[in-house]
């Protein structure tokens, strides 16, 4: 396990904007968690109804096959062929994917399932229920989806998280990298970078993956931009990472100093492989948005280099205890191996 720690936790007085963003995210999360619980439960309940999802799959199969490629990817067209006259599990799978297709759900009123009028009637009723529930749901109110891509949502989506795990994992990186970057380029500069990265990330997501009915939420795109900018600005500087080699012996847990670009390389590899390796129809982590954030962070760092006469970048040194200046590749175990301790 290896995790960037840099200079550790920086207090709110030295990085007020970072902490303000974190606080705002927390407030929004508490608000959405409290107001959205009931709606989320009803939405989950509806989307898990086998009868609804299976019929939706059969209807969507006809819809996809009618349009075919290139409007729909080959994989989805093949699945539609299987689902139209195949077993229920195929139809159910396709039915789940149909929830992400805004055009299909938007056209629901004009789609008929002649093979089974009862199923058709019930499906129309439940799609209407679904839309109503989504309309009230905070993720849909603030999140960016093909349903509503108005200008304000390109910013509001950054401050909404789907749950505590999503929130904590994003905020951890925000306080580590955001605070450092804020110290370097100032609060205003940091805010501009954060917001612009968020917008750019959403744009990249829309371009590469395409907007869906499922809303895009979370600050990860914006944080990717912040992290990338920090790494580019401090390219070769030794940064502190925590490592643990999963060995229950002395000497295999501690700090290691690696260049800043190492973090960028790990994220870029992870996001690039995630983007290439997943089917966008299945949803999940928005790797394209992360990649967008990374590109925007790089661009903004390069712009800042050219403008550094007008907008200074302060040096922030990564130091170990007692002012010791570490070198790249240096390992400082928490408890040194016994043979080293003895010497």
């Amino acid at each position: 396990m290896i995790f960037p720690v840099l200079n550790g936790l920086i207090g709110w007085s030295k990085a007020p904007v970072t902490w303000a963003i974190l606080f705002l995210n927390l407030v929004v999360l508490l608000y959405t968690q409290n107001t959205g619980v009931d709606g989320q439960a009803r939405l989950d309940d509806l989307m898990k109804k086998k009868s609804f999802v299976t019929v939706q799959g059969r209807i969507y199969a006809g819809y996809v096959q009618e349009r075919g490629e290139p409007e729909y990817p080959e994989f989805l067209v093949d699945l539609a062929k299987q689902a139209q006259r195949g077993p229920n599990d195929r139809a159910e799978m396709l039915g789940q994917l149909a929830f992400r297709d805004f055009n299909f759900l938007n056209d629901a009123d004009n789609i008929d399932y002649k093979e089974d009028p009862v199923a058709s009637r019930m499906w129309h009723k439940r799609v209407a229920d679904l839309k109503e529930l989504q309309h009230e749901h905070p993720s849909f109110t603030f999140g960016l989806s093909s349903d509503d891509a108005s200008l304000r949502k390109w910013v509001t989506y950054i401050f909404v998280h789907s749950g505590w795990f999503h929130f904590i994992s994003n905020m951890l990186f925000l306080v580590i990298f955001g605070a450092m970057l804020e110290k370097q380029i100032g609060g205003l500069g940091f805010l501009v970078v954060f917001l612009l990265s968020g917008v750019f990330a959403a744009g990249t997501f829309a371009l590469l993956t395409g907007m869906s009915s499922t809303p895009l939420v979370g600050a990860s795109g914006a944080i990717s931009g912040v992290m990338t900018m920090y790494c580019v600005l401090n390219w070769g500087r030794p940064e502190r990472y925590f490592y643990w080699l999963f060995l229950p012996f002395r000497g295999y847990m501690g700090w290691i100093y690696l260049p800043a670009w190492a973090s960028l390389a790990i994220w870029a590899v992870s996001d690039l492989s995630g983007y290439i390796g997943t089917l966008p129809e299945l949803g999940g982590i928005a790797h394209a948005a992360h990649l967008g954030g990374e590109v925007s962070g790089t661009i903004m760092a390069l712009i800042l280099f050219s403008l550094r006469k007008f907008w200074p970048v302060h040096e922030v040194h990564a130091t170990a205890r007692n002012g010791y200046q570490p070198k790249i590749g240096e390992m400082i175990p928490f408890l040194p191996p016994s043979h080293k301790r003895a010497s």
């Binding site: 290896i2 609804f52 080699l245 590899v269």
Partner: protein, 629 residues
């Protein structure tokens, strides 16, 4: 003549292998933990990220083939990705070992791979071989790698194959393994191998057990194909079934109604109709209503649709029956069934179920006659016929029906119905042990033979044991061993009764009688037992409990038991009250009728009191009687 020398050549005595490389001397060997740390760094920091990136396009393709169920593509892609992983590991390790003598992980921990003999540089092929063996060792769950703890030079298999050794360059190496260390690791490896052998043996045994019978073999593959076996078995003439578009679905409906097929069968048959583009009909909607029974809104919509499309059909009647049934409007159900066109199979099954539920056994028997042409429903008919005869006090007919049912039914079903009859016959005395039903359910030799999940069989076996004497059943052991709470209470109640603690016994028996989870047969038996010693006020309390019985069958049996007991206690008013309820529901047994007639004639010409006189509408069920599913 030359006599050949047959003496064996002398063995070299304890020639120990010692590497000649100066750096591989004792004290310079790399510590196993450092080697492990280097492997972790190599794998998780370098190889895994690179592999994830390189294999990403294949992963996407693999995911698509998995979802589409395209097995050949999926297997090929797994093969390609495995090959890619092997090539990546081998090229990384071999090139780093050849050019630098260490991988990046080893460099981090100051380790170096050196030739074990001489100071010549390793060849590239030896590096490749070393890496390939290293992969093989991983495939064997890493067990061969543990030889680093047993080899005197701490050389693992891949070291020995490539004539190399790993040395520490910073003077923090280790010495040869201690004999205890060797022993422990060898013991661990041996245990692992033994365990693996055992697991493999069990797996092979299970596989052959599964495949032993041809029947099971077919069942295994049928299950995988998703077909409904029961329908396939009973469909009969294939041509006939093809001519009638919904033949399979209708059959599935009948079997499902009779409890001979799972709901999944209906689902499979509906899928088949979708696949064959069979036009939707009333039966399709009806089947959909059952398949979607968990979603009331959808299920009701399908039921409504049946009559919209085909108002005069059997399917429409059936849908109305289902709706009225769920509303518990029993008279409407009866009217609908009486006026329905017969011959569908599933409607007759529902009619039988309805009449059995309402204790209208003669009507049930009439419908069972209608089902005689439906050979696929014979198991259902045979069982229900025995029950109908027995509950309507036609003992001889019940025994005859049971005698013909036993050879025709699967063993479990035959045991169940025999036990059901036996348990109730034993209520009248142990003489029933010699009769057919109880002969089919022999008394167990030990308690472990009783399966309390099958309440009828369990009760019959317990009662058979009790017939062998008062001490034949150790109620204490039974109550401690059985897991089901109702059975536990039942045995504890019997124990208290055995010890003449009648007050405690009454409370425990009453708990069994009042419990919602008690099997009906056990409930009636508990009521019978407690009624034998209950005081008059306790009997009155039992009457109140009895009025809440949900199953009409149990209600009638319990009512007659209470009536007989109240008559014995000469509690005339209470007995007449119970009799009135039973008469209104046509539930008086012939014995009770005889007792009641005797009571009436002893009244010296008095007219029957108004409270006992049967109502004009004999079908009216008293308000206090609550019917349920």
């Amino acid at each position: 003549m030359v006599i050949p020398d047959w003496t064996p050549p002398k063995k070299p005595v304890n020639v120990e292998f010692v590497p000649t490389n100066s750096q591989a001397n004792v004290g310079n060997m790399a510590r196993p933990v450092d080697r492990l740390a280097a492997v972790i760094v190599d794998i998780f920091v370098l190889l895994v990220p690179i592999f994830i990136l390189l294999s990403a396009p294949f992963k996407r393709w693999m995911m698509a083939s998995f979802i589409l169920g395209n097995e050949p593509d999926f297997i090929s892609l797994v093969g390609v990705m495995t090959l890619m992983a092997v090539v990546l590991v081998v090229s990384y390790q071999a090139s780093f070992h050849f050019f630098f003598g260490a991988t990046l992980g080893k460099m981090l921990f100051d380790l170096k791979v050196k030739p074990a003999f001489g100071d010549e540089r390793m060849t590239f092929m030896s590096c490749v071989g070393r890496s390939l063996v290293w992969i093989l060792e991983f495939v064997c769950l890493g067990l061969p790698l543990l030889s680093v703890f047993t080899n005197s030079q701490r050389r693992t298999l891949h070291d020995r194959v490539s004539d190399t050794c790993v040395v520490s360059m910073n003077g923090t190496g280790t010495v040869a393994p201690h004999p205890v260390e060797r022993g422990l690791v060898r013991g661990f490896v041996g245990s692992c191998l033994l365990f693996a052998l055992l697991v493999a043996g069990v797996q092979v045994h299970q596989f052959f057990d599964k495949m032993k019978l041809e029947h099971n073999l077919i069942a295994t593959f049928d299950h995988e194909s998703g077909a409904c076996e029961v329908v396939d078995k009973n469909i009969g003439d294939e041509e006939e079934s093809t001519a009638k578009p919904h033949a399979r679905l209708e059959l599935a409906m009948s079997l499902y109604a009779a409890g001979l097929a799972e709901r999944n069968c209906l689902e499979v048959e509906l899928e088949r109709e979708i696949a064959t583009q069979t036009p939707v009909g009333g039966i399709t909607y009806l089947a959909q209503a059952f398949v979607n029974a968990d979603d009331a809104e959808v299920s009701n919509s399908y039921l409504d649709q049946v009559c919209e499309d085909t108002p005069a059909s059997v399917e429409c009647t059936m849908s109305k029956v289902v709706s009225r049934w769920s509303d518990e409007d029993w008279s409407a159900v009866e009217d609908l069934l009486a006026n329905a066109t017969k011959g569908s199979g599933y409607l007759e099954v529902w009619a039988v179920r309805h009449h059995m539920k309402q204790a209208h056994y003669q009507e049930a028997l009439a419908y069972l006659d209608e089902l005689s042409d439906h050979r696929e429903l014979s198991e259902f008919s045979l069982v229900q016929r025995v029950k109908a005869y027995f509950n309507s006090y036609q003992t001889n007919e019940a025994e005859a029906a049971l005698a013909s049912a036993i050879p025709a039914l699967p063993k479990d079903d035959a045991d169940d119905i025999s036990a059901w009859v036996c348990a109730q016959a034993l209520q009248n005395g142990c003489a029933a042990l010699d009769k057919l039903p109880c002969r089919e359910v022999p008394a167990p030799k030990e308690m472990g033979e009783i399966d309390f999940e099958h309440s009828a069989v369990a009760l019959a076996k317990v009662m058979s044991l009790e017939c062998h004497g008062d001490d034949a059943v150790d109620y204490l052991t039974f109550s401690q061993a059985v897991k089901n709470e109702d059975w536990q209470t039942f045995f504890r109640a019997n124990l208290k009764r055995q010890k003449d603690d009648l007050s405690a016994a009454y409370k425990l028996f009453a708990d069994v009688v009042n419990s919602n989870t008690t099997p009906e047969l056990l409930r009636v038996e508990a009521l019978r037992r407690v009624a034998q010693f209950a005081t008059t006020p306790q009997l009155h309390a039992l009457v109140e409990s009895w009025r809440g019985f949900e199953s009409k069958d149990s209600w009638i049996k319990g009512g007659n038991l209470l009536f007989a007991r109240l008559m014995e206690k000469k509690d005339r008013d209470s007995a007449l009250r119970v009799a009135r309820y039973l008469m209104n529901a046509e539930g008086l047994s012939p014995n009770s009728v005889a007792q009641l007639t005797g009571l009436m004639t002893n009244e010296k010409g008095d007219r029957m009191p108004a409270s006992v006189r049967p109502k004009e509408n004999i079908h009216t069920i008293p308000d206090s009687y609550e019917e349920g599913d």
